[in-house]
């Protein structure tokens, strides 16, 4: 079974994402900020990460840069999942090493489409 880590400071978003990902057949882990997410990834690298941008503590961008510097940290497919819809900001996220980008609000079809495009269908 493929694993997906959901990183978001909103419990509601984590819950919605979990339901979508479980319906797609993923095993889901949750983290509420970048620090918690790094702890998960040091223990076991997930196959995919849904990553919020703005979070207290370590934000999504900072987490992404640290993750990519870790041994094996290039492996997970990272999908930014943010309310930020400015083209320049999306480009920044992709340049920093994100594989895909989802603008909030999103639905199951969008998540499924992005993960399928990245070849991480469960």
């Amino acid at each position: 079974m493929k694993t997906c880590l959901v990183v978001d400071d909103s419990r509601v978003i984590r819950k919605v994402s979990r339901r979508i990902l479980e319906d797609l057949g993923f095993e889901v882990a949750e983290a509420s900020d970048g620090v918690e997410a790094m702890a998960w990834c040091s223990a076991v690298m997930p196959d995919a990460i849904l990553l919020d941008w703005i979070m207290p503590g370590m934000d999504g961008m900072e987490f992404l840069k640290r993750l990519r510097a870790e041994p094996g940290g290039e492996r997970p497919k990272v999908v930014f999942c943010s309310g930020e819809t400015d083209i320049g900001r999306i480009r920044d996220a992709l340049d920093a090493g994100a594989d895909e980008y989802i603008m909030k609000p999103f639905d199951g079809a969008i998540v499924a489409g992005k993960l399928a495009y990245l070849g991480v269908a469960a």
Binding site: I87, I90, R91, L94, Y101, G113, Y117
Partner: protein, 273 residues
């Protein structure tokens, strides 16, 4: 709930105008598609809208508004991604070689809101060896869809259907709440309203014709008519792209890969003449 007599009227209208197969039993489908159009046209309900036409009122435009609302437009970029890969890496480069300098003419026959032809246009623009060698045409039954397609404006929701984020940042700019496709891509395409049930011979010949996921919406009789028409628009040696599970039949031979791609033999026109 729309009365049976109104549902039958809608089904018959769609059949007569566009060969569409509409199940008159599916009241919910008819109601949900027609409700926004009825509102737009100033009727209080779909029933009142249909009633007016059934009583002999309403002009041609209102009749078409019903047909256009029932015909399902394509709403996803790069639908069946493998098809686009095959077109850009194999089919179109082969056609460019075969046409030896003449532009390869491509026609998206049921372009809906433009996602299919723009997907192809963006791939071609990003493939230097194809740039300037391909002419793109797009048509649809629906004037409304064509207007939207030509504007190149999509909602946040629409640009997340099938469009990779890297393609989004390369070819779109934010315009208010919408995302606007770059003029460079939009200018690659020539548009026209076309009903596939009409005589298509007058549009000249094309090297690649796309008609994906349309046949399954048509009656068997209309399917035969449309495939026959599409064949007439194909240049000798041309290729036809249908939906993944759609069949062309006749002298069109399927290309390997199971992607709904077919080839018309080089000598097909001579055989037919």
């Amino acid at each position: 709930m729309i009365a049976a007599i109104d549902r039958v009227f809608v089904a018959a209208l769609c059949l007569a105008r566009a060969g569409l197969r509409v199940d008159a039993e599916k009241g919910y489908l008819i109601e949900s598609r027609l409700a926004p159009v009825a509102r737009r046209e100033g009727f209080s309900s779909p029933e009142e809208f249909i009633g007016r036409l059934r009583d002999g009122g309403g002009d041609d435009r209102l009749h078409w508004a019903i047909v256009e609302a029932i015909a399902l437009p394509e709403t996803e970029f790069y639908r069946d991604h493998a098809v686009f890969e095959a077109l850009v890496h194999d089919v179109i480069p082969t056609l460019v070689r075969e046409r030896a300098g003449a532009p390869v003419r491509v026609w998206s026959t049921a372009c809906g809101m433009g996602q299919e032809i723009y997907s192809l246009a963006m791939l071609i623009a990003d493939t230097p060896v194809l740039a300037g060698k391909v002419e793109l045409f797009a048509s649809d039954l629906s004037e409304k869809s064509l207007e939207k397609a030509q504007s190149g404006l999509y909602s946040q929701f629409e640009v997340q259907r099938g469009l990779p984020a890297r393609t989004l940042v390369r070819h779109f700019e934010k315009e208010g709440e919408s995302f606007a496709l770059s003029p460079r891509i939009r200018q690659m395409i020539r548009w026209r309203r076309v009903n596939l049930m009409d005589d298509l011979g007058r549009f000249g010949q094309f090297d690649l014709v796309l008609c994906r996921n349309v046949l399954t919406q048509l009656t068997p009789e209309a399917q035969v008519r449309v495939v026959g028409q599409l064949k007439k628009t194909l240049a000798p040696g041309g290729r036809l792209a249908l939906g993944l599970k759609e069949e062309a039949g006749g002298e069109l031979t399927p290309l390997p890969g199971g992607l709904g791609l077919f080839a018309l033999p080089q000598d097909a026109v001579r055989t037919a003449a």
